[in-house]
């Protein structure tokens, strides 16, 4: 059982335990879909949906599941919500569904989601699990937005598809290619570590 207040359960996901910058989880979608802000946002929201509902279901039936089959049960529950998200995007937002391609179905194996079930929802009540899921999702969305904003602005000169750089700007194509994802993530991780060290030494 956690000793934190419900608010702290939410806040921790934003920075202290941010899934991308602090725990280095869910890096596959983080690297793959952040070439454009709209894709990063859609991916973040789809993951949020899956994480919230999986956490709610897992925490509500945690006592029924024998621990030997818990991972298999979590995967089935997660896969169910992933499929719902995938179908929903294909039905109502076909262009986004097309540009995210296989990465929506791949949320099934996103470590953030399985990790939170194993580390949190299977041991805590529904309300707290919801706060935890909301915090982690917000942290994930935040990370995707930062990464995709940097990559889209430098790599295409646009933000959310709108031109933000002047005509003088020559897009750095490498930023929307896979190497750009690694470079940006590396710099952001270094920054996150640096900020962490500064705040620690101040304490």
């Amino acid at each position: 059982m956690s000793t934190k207040t419900a608010g702290q359960e939410f806040i921790k996901g934003l920075w202290d335990e941010n899934p991308v910058f602090r725990q280095l989880l869910g890096l596959c979608p983080t690297l793959a879909v952040t070439g454009a802000v709209i894709n990063g946002l859609a991916m973040g929201l789809a993951t949020t949906f899956v994480l919230i509902f999986s956490s709610l279901v897992v925490s509500s039936i945690k006592k029924l599941i024998p621990s030997q089959v818990r991972i298999a049960s979590y995967i089935v529950i997660i896969a169910t919500f992933v499929t719902v998200a995938d179908r929903f995007l294909a039905a109502f937002f076909p262009p986004i569904s097309k540009s995210l391609g296989p990465y929506v179905p791949l949320i099934v194996v996103n470590c953030i989601i399985l990790g939170r079930q194993e580390a949190y929802s299977s041991k805590n009540k529904m309300g707290r699990s919801l706060m935890d899921a909301l915090g982690m999702s917000a942290g994930f969305v935040l990370a995707l937005l930062i990464l995709s904003a940097i990559r889209e602005i430098l790599g295409a000169g646009t933000f959310f598809g709108y031109q933000v750089m002047g005509a003088w700007f020559k897009p750095w194509i490498i930023m929307i290619l896979p190497p750009g994802a690694f470079i940006t993530l590396g710099i952001l991780l270094a920054l996150a570590l640096q900020i962490e060290r500064r705040t620690k030494s101040r304490k």
């Binding site: 024998p66 169910t80 109502f92 076909p94």
Partner: protein, 201 residues
């Protein structure tokens, strides 16, 4: 309850519940997803066969479908060939509009591609690539002009400017077009494709 029984019961019920839930979701979204696909194709036909008010599927097989675009009077004004093939990284799907004798192209549209952004992905760009496909002679084989010439008038009637730095993507589109045109002509010769719809099954 014995542990092994409990394991079976729990996993089975989770599986059943999620299965039935997904069946409902699938049922609710199926129609809309099919409609989206159909709309995408219809929009592409109107784009590549200008003047189309209604369209009709004339032939279909794996990686190739031929649609007929019709004007207000219901006369066939052109074919729209929906074809796909391998590009530089992944499948490229395109729609080529031709006249009714398959001898002249109208327009080309790229529906799906995952080419390199900034290079191969220029195959979706009108000014760098697609405009060269308008009104070309496609009675024979279309060929690629490399290096590209700046004045479009210098191109032969059956030539297309290649994209500088993305020869593989340009060639991929070219070969999909040439193959599907050849295929369509063969279908006409064999009587499997005509201006009237027929049962392809």
């Amino acid at each position: 309850m014995k542990l092994s029984t409990r394991m079976v019961v729990v996993l089975t019920s989770i599986g059943l519940l999620s299965g039935s839930f997904l069946a409902t979701v699938g049922h609710l979204t199926k129609e809309r997803i099919a409609l989206n696909k159909q709309r995408e194709i219809e929009e592409a036909i109107i784009q590549v066969v200008p003047g189309t008010v209604s369209s009709q599927k004339l032939y279909e097989e794996r990686d190739l479908a031929v649609y007929g675009g019709k004007n207000e009077e219901g006369n066939l004004i052109g074919f729209a060939i929906h074809a796909s093939g391998i590009g530089f990284q992944d499948k490229i799907t395109l729609m080529l509009g031709t006249n009714t004798s398959l001898e002249r192209t109208n327009r080309l549209a790229i529906l799906d591609q995952k080419e390199t952004p900034g290079l191969g992905a220029k195959i979706t760009d009108r000014d760098s690539f697609l405009k060269y496909w308008e009104n070309r002679d496609c009675g024979g084989t279309i060929s690629l002009r490399k290096p590209a010439v700046s004045a479009a008038e210098e191109l032969l009637p059956s030539e297309i400017n290649a994209i500088t730095g993305a020869t593989i993507s340009s060639e991929a589109v070219l070969s999909i077009v040439n193959n599907s045109l050849e295929h369509a002509r063969r279908l006409i010769k064999e009587g499997k494709l005509s201006s009237e719809a027929q049962d392809v099954n």
